[in-house]
């Protein structure tokens, strides 16, 4: 077993900061009657604000600071998002505490090219999600957690090494009651090393089995089972912005975080998304909904971001956005993609839908379509629009023009012969088409192939009703 512990310090603050590239001073306060500063970002620290300071004092230092109350529920939700995202690396993910996630990575090292590679990838991807995390790797879950809590982003391979790495850690990092730690400190026992120097039975008598068990688990003397994280059936995440924004680029910046998180979840589920819904929530009006539909299931974050970008270009936001919500409305199973053995320039088969979706996102779903034949004798009904790429191949042995006019164009006739910028020469015909008396689109026409004086071949018809009018219906082009 090899565990990677992901520790997210000051989670409430991080959640506020990950949605923007340029935050002002942001302060998180606790929920008490006389609130104090729990955490603050660098911009706030630069103004002299420190954790532990009363909020009123912080306001005296910076009038324009963004103040938020810590929200454990939102923290828990965000942590579940991280756990879902982590599912792409390993099937064994566990939520260890309010701001810690454990990943069992011993079984998947080879897949990701070794510990260094995997550790680097987890750290880099977390940064892309907008999190500042301490990721520590150790052979025991508790050991990894203690290291990450201490802020040591290290990878420890075996238990001897782990014992050395844990020795200097402060005991207050343990999940023990505060008075236990205080009593130990009173005895001059501050670190794991100090603790290990004391006799076990005495410690057990004084502090109970709980303290011994935690350290034993950390060192690997006791088994350390962890409850697995079970993903929910429906995927939805939200991101609150530190300050409302209306411009596209900052919104995309924040949405990208959510999409990357979703991509990790989809990789775990071996699924792709076909319907994606974004809800941009405003302060005092109903949310703006933006739906992104895909022709084929996809989980490529870059592609999804491109689609959202095109879609946002066509949407007018009525007010600044405070919260972005992402809902994977429809997912479908999608096998993992095979990397090609030889450098192959041609895009994979599933990539072929990309360009279609890209066009649809900007031009509208109806503007990009395929055409297929439909068994009807009336020329304008012999084809129909279908979603792009879904058309059936057809075959036709009739002589038909390549271009059809959407609506037949009336032609003047002179001496019973049709005219179009000059006299027309009839080359072939008539082909009589009579159909549709049953559905109010009655067609009784004689079709001819004609040529105008500049040599353009036309498809014209003469109505067989009383008017005997001539119409241009197509060009052979």
């Amino acid at each position: 077993m090899l565990w990677a512990a992901v520790h997210l310090p000051d989670l409430s603050l991080q959640l506020r900061l990950r949605g923007t590239a340029a935050p002002g001073p942001v302060v998180i306060q606790d929920e008490s009657h006389r609130p104090r500063v729990l955490s603050c970002n660098d911009a706030a620290t630069g103004l002299g604000i420190r954790p532990g300071m009363p909020v009123s004092a912080a306001f005296a230092l910076a009038a324009g600071l963004h103040l938020f109350t810590r929200d454990p529920e939102k923290e828990a939700k965000a942590l579940r998002g991280v756990a879902l995202w982590a599912g792409q690396f390993t099937p064994t993910v566990s939520i260890a505490s309010g701001n810690e996630v454990l990943l069992e990575i011993g079984g998947c090292l080879r897949l990701f090219g070794g510990l260094r590679q995997l550790g680097g990838r987890i750290r880099a991807n977390l940064r892309e999600l907008g999190y500042h995390a301490v990721v520590a790797v150790a052979p025991t879950a508790t050991g990894a957690l203690l290291l990450s809590r201490a802020g040591i982003a290290t990878s420890v391979g075996d238990r001897h090494e782990l014992r050395r790495a844990l020795a200097p850690l402060r005991l207050r990092l343990l999940d023990q009651p505060a008075d236990t730690i205080a009593t130990l400190a009173g005895m001059g026992v501050h670190t794991v090393r100090d603790y290990l120097a004391l006799p076990r039975d005495g410690l057990a008598r004084r502090f109970g089995q709980r303290l011994l068990d935690e350290i034993d688990r950390a060192l690997g003397h006791l088994p350390d089972p962890r409850p697995p994280f079970i993903p929910p059936a429906r995927y939805a995440t939200a991101l609150e912005l530190p300050a409302p924004v209306q411009e596209t680029e900052p919104l995309l910046f924040a949405a990208k975080r959510l999409i990357l998180e979703l991509a990790g979840y989809l990789a775990m589920k071996q699924a792709g998304v076909t319907q994606l819904r974004f809800e941009f929530e405003h302060a005092d009006r109903s949310a703006t909904r933006v739906a992104v539909g895909l022709s084929a299931a996809n989980r490529d974050a870059g592609h999804l971001i491109t689609l959202l970008r095109e879609k946002l270009a066509t949407v007018e936001l009525p007010a600044p956005v405070e919260t972005i919500r992402l809902i994977a409305a429809e997912t479908r199973p999608l096998g993992s993609s095979n990397r090609s053995l030889f450098a192959d320039q041609r895009p994979a088969a599933e990539d072929r839908w990309r360009v279609i979706e890209h066009l649809r996102a900007r031009l509208g779903a109806d503007a990009v379509y395929g055409l297929e034949m439909f068994p009807d004798h009336r020329p304008e009904l012999a084809l129909r629009r279908v979603p792009a790429g879904k058309a059936q191949d057809g075959d036709c042995d009739l002589y038909r023009p390549l271009w059809l006019l959407a609506r037949p164009l009336p032609l003047k006739a002179d001496d019973l012969l049709p005219q179009a910028d000059g006299p027309l020469t009839l080359l072939d015909g008539p082909e009589r088409i009579e159909s549709g008396w049953w559905d109010d689109f009655d067609v009784t026409r004689d079709y001819f192939v004609a040529r105008d004086d500049s040599g353009v071949k036309l498809w014209i018809f003469r109505e067989r009703n009383d008017q005997k009018n001539w119409f241009l219906h197509g060009l052979f082009a």
Partner: protein, 227 residues
């Protein structure tokens, strides 16, 4: 001396102006042997945007591409028609061997969208052909499209009115299409390799009903019906 000249002329870096360069360009046969002979690479070039200047629409400009499109529809990629002037008539396309499942039609409301869509299609790398009908196209857009085509390796064709064409163009292949003697007259204005070519007259239409109908055959029933 003469043998020294011969040796020199065998240097592949030297191109002699009196012969058409036989360049190895990935190309798709046009389906018209006399046109293939004149095109460097022996067909419609891939990775290149061709500019087609038509004297007027409907003279056979689409038929000129139909054999190539039919071949390309056997490949994996899409055949994309962007902002076509009229409805591409699916039965006629199918009759000429084009697989409709590969056909994608894109409607746009502005030239900006047309050129944008063409650029996306050319760049994507999975459109075997992108044909677009912008109302007007300037040198800058053509250059962008040319870069996109190079990146995606697609075959692109931009149709435009000959009357409104710019005097110069960054498109490596430029042709003017007109009609002479009821046939499509193709004049290669610019190509990679070498200079002027005589105008080619092509029978791009399926050869059917080339001769006019005898007036009697047509007039009689009409007169009868009109009476």
């Amino acid at each position: 001396m003469s043998s020294a000249l011969q040796t020199l002329l065998q240097n592949p870096a030297i191109w002699r102006g009196d012969e058409q360069a036989r360049v190895q360009l990935p190309s798709i046969p046009t389906g018209f042997a006399e046109l293939d002979r004149e095109l460097p690479g022996g067909g419609w070039p891939r990775g290149v945007v061709s500019e087609l200047l038509t004297e007027r629409s409907g003279i056979g400009e689409l038929s000129l591409f139909v054999p190539a499109l039919a071949n390309l529809s056997r490949e994996d990629g899409w055949l994309m028609l962007i902002a076509p002037p009229w409805i591409p008539y699916a039965p006629a396309l199918a009759a000429r061997g084009i697989r409709l499942s590969k056909l994608v039609v894109v409607d746009t409301h502005s030239d900006k969208d047309t050129l944008w869509a063409a650029e996306q299609g050319l760049r994507a790398g999975n459109c075997s052909a992108v044909l677009a009908w912008p109302a007007a196209i300037n040198e800058r857009s053509l250059r962008r499209l040319q870069l996109a085509a190079e990146e995606g390796g697609s075959f692109g064709a931009m149709f435009g009115a000959a009357a409104r064409a710019a005097p110069s163009s960054p498109a490596p292949l430029r042709m003017q299409l007109g009609t002479r003697q009821n046939r499509l007259a193709v004049r290669i204005v610019k190509r990679r390799g070498s200079g002027r070519v005589p105008t080619l007259l092509l029978d791009v239409e399926r050869n059917r009903a080339a001769a006019p109908m005898p007036a009697s055959r047509f007039r009689q029933p009409l007169a009868h019906a009109g009476a």
